[in-house]
């Protein structure tokens, strides 16, 4: 059974009965009654305890949500509708009561045609409701022409014939008039926070006891998330004043994975001092749903890959692991290969010397003839260039240079450039 309260204080009154309350409008709240509340008729206390100076409270109890809303909106005082008695109680109500209530949230509202008709029928010429709160307004015009004025009139029509003439919307209206339109309660669940914290009498100095505490927090938080069919998208960890966030590439509830990731993070960046206060929070999101294909090539398991990359980050540094990305720029080494220049690009891969090798170049008529670096030296045998390029002149790190592609007598092909701003020669890399 469901109870509906229609009052200015509806939400507060309903929340005193149940934590699961659906808001069916600005002054309407619906909730489910427990067997005990039903047996002891608790809802009657709302109207009996209401002071005379307070705004009127209308309460209705029915076996369906929509019937309870309809009765609470249109019947004064406290109304109890026993199962299968919806027609007896709701039948005399005018059919206009369906239009004034924001029901059928799951159904699409119609275009605001017939607003004047509704205004004529309901007598609200000076204050017509908004079109969005007038679902099925054209149906009311049809029913008006049929001579249907009460819910009982509508309920007496054969459902199959109504479906043939008015379609799905007419059937929904018919069921609503009979009090037979049933749906589950849609309570507004408050946004839950998944966080735990603790303060210690004695600061924790070692990593293992700290991880033990964090793992216990994660265990509880994951259990709470699993109960709500949620998963963690990120872990926020604060050790005293030192805060860190571990973003996960996929939602997960794997306790072992999260603990390992935190362990790797603590290995890379240990706390600066013994820890007195720990705060752990999980950022919730919808769980991951993956559809595997029979002929899809095998890919690394995401959990295992994340752990592996975490270990590698600890080895080589945070910014040295990832996937390469090309930026939309002409800056050498960072830009995308330009399609129109594809035919001009050499059919050779390139290897960078990072950082570029400083070079000493001997020129002859402005053309490099001999090259010396700390790694190699040689006479230039073949050379193409110079290719002058520049860019980003509005930024402090602008670039402007002359490039040569050359082969030295050792046989290797290098890219040599002269930084025009610094007037220095560099070997950028080797064609390979």
């Amino acid at each position: 059974m469901f109870a509906c309260i229609h009052s200015a204080e509806a939400a507060a009154l309903a929340s005193s009965f149940s934590p699961w309350v659906e808001s069916a409008g600005p002054n309407t709240a619906v909730f489910s009654l427990t067997p005990r509340q039903l047996a002891e008729r608790h809802w009657e206390r709302i109207t009996s305890n209401c002071p005379a100076s307070a705004p009127p409270v209308q309460v209705a109890v029915a076996s369906t949500v929509e019937a309870a809303i309809l009765a609470a909106h249109n019947l004064a005082g406290c109304t109890f509708i026993a199962p299968d008695e919806e027609m007896r109680v709701l039948g005399p109500l005018s059919i206009d009561c369906l239009a004034g209530v924001s029901l059928w949230g799951s159904l699409p509202s119609c275009a605001p045609v017939g607003g004047a008709l509704w205004a004529r029928r309901s007598g609200r010429v000076n204050n017509p409701p908004q079109a969005a709160s007038l679902p099925h307004i054209e149906l009311f015009g049809i029913l008006d022409r049929w001579g249907i004025h009460t819910l009982a009139d509508l309920a007496r029509l054969p459902e199959a014939d109504l479906a043939a003439r008015l379609g799905e919307r007419g059937v929904e209206l018919h069921r609503l008039a009979r009090g037979a339109l049933d749906r589950p309660l849609r309570p507004e669940i408050p946004a839950a926070t998944y966080e735990e914290s603790a303060e210690f009498d004695h600061p924790i100095e070692l990593r293992e006891p700290l991880l033990f505490v964090i793992a216990r927090f994660l265990h509880d938080l994951i259990a709470r998330m699993r109960a709500q069919s949620l998963a963690a998208q990120a872990v926020h960890l604060a050790l005293d004043q030192q805060k860190r966030t571990l973003g996960l590439p996929f939602p997960t509830l794997d306790l072992k994975l999260l603990t390992k990731l935190i362990e790797h993070s603590l290995e890379r960046q240990p706390p600066e001092a013994p820890v007195e206060r720990v705060y752990v929070a999980l950022q919730p999101t919808r769980p991951r749903r993956v559809q595997h294909g029979l002929f899809t090539p095998a890919a690394p398991e995401p959990e295992r890959l994340e752990l592996t990359l975490g270990k590698i980050r600890a080895l080589v540094g945070e910014g040295n692991v990832g996937y390469p990305e090309l930026f939309d720029t002409h800056r050498p080494g960072a830009g995308k290969p330009i399609a129109c220049q594809g035919a001009l690009l050499p059919a050779l891969a390139f290897r960078y010397f990072r950082p570029p090798l400083e070079a000493r170049v001997e020129l002859e008529a402005g053309v490099p003839k001999h090259l010396t670096t700390k790694m190699f030296r040689g006479r230039v045998v073949q050379i193409a260039g110079p290719w002058r390029s520049s860019g980003d002149w509005w930024r402090p790190d602008f670039w402007s240079r002359d490039e040569w592609d050359l082969r030295i007598d050792g046989g290797a092909l290098y890219r040599l450039y002269r930084d025009r701003a610094a007037q220095q020669w560099f070997v950028e890399g080797v064609y390979d």
Partner: protein, 188 residues
């Protein structure tokens, strides 16, 4: 009637291969094995590596590149056809030991079509410190998987642990045009 097999005989299924189209002719890289690409500068070893990565990522697989010397050029790799979004790039800053450990971790993680270990241009002193057992460990790690471990180096390193060794000879540069308006096009 089938003849009796000698004791200790084992029926080895020929390994699956990943065919790589390359300007100097196609190459078949056996899966679950170590393959070495060996050559001097400008011999085409990086071009072959990019072609291998492009063949793997083009099939929808994920690949990993352990870049010991920070030499990888994403621009020329993308021009070869490597799908960069399917490539894990590990930069090791010229240090061989973390590169070997990173390759080991990637092989143990599994699921990659190709794990490339680029040891070209690495310091000879660091290469000498690689224990031979590391290559045996790599061989054991990949032999039950469809992963290709491709090692790029100036000289052979894995030796008997490698099933395929591609030795690339020095190439001759091809410039087009007339001096002084030359253009580097290819190497043959």
């Amino acid at each position: 009637m089938l003849p009796a097999l000698p004791l200790g005989w084992r029926l080895d299924r020929p390994p699956d291969v990943l065919s790589v189209s390359y300007p100097k002719g196609g190459r078949d890289f056996p899966r679950g094995r170590i393959s070495e690409i060996v050559g001097a500068r400008s011999s085409g070893r990086t071009s072959l590596l990019h072609a291998l990565l492009a063949a793997s990522t083009g099939r929808g697989e994920f690949a990993a590149l352990v870049d010991t010397g920070d030499a990888f050029d994403p621009c020329s790799a993308a021009a070869t056809g490597v799908e960069l979004s399917r490539l894990v790039w590990v930069r090791c800053g010229g240090r061989v030991e973390p590169a070997m450990r990173a390759a080991d971790l990637l092989l143990q993680a599994g699921g990659f079509g190709v794990v490339a270990l680029d040891l070209a241009e690495a310091a000879p002193r660091q290469l000498q410190r690689i224990p031979a057992t590391a290559w045996f460990r790599f061989r054991r790690a990949v032999e039950t998987t469809p992963t290709i471990l491709a090692v790029v180096a100036d000289r052979p390193l894995a030796k008997s642990c490698a099933t395929l060794a591609v030795k690339l000879p020095p190439r001759r540069a091809v410039f087009t045009g007339r001096a002084p308006f030359l253009l580097l096009r290819d190497a043959v």
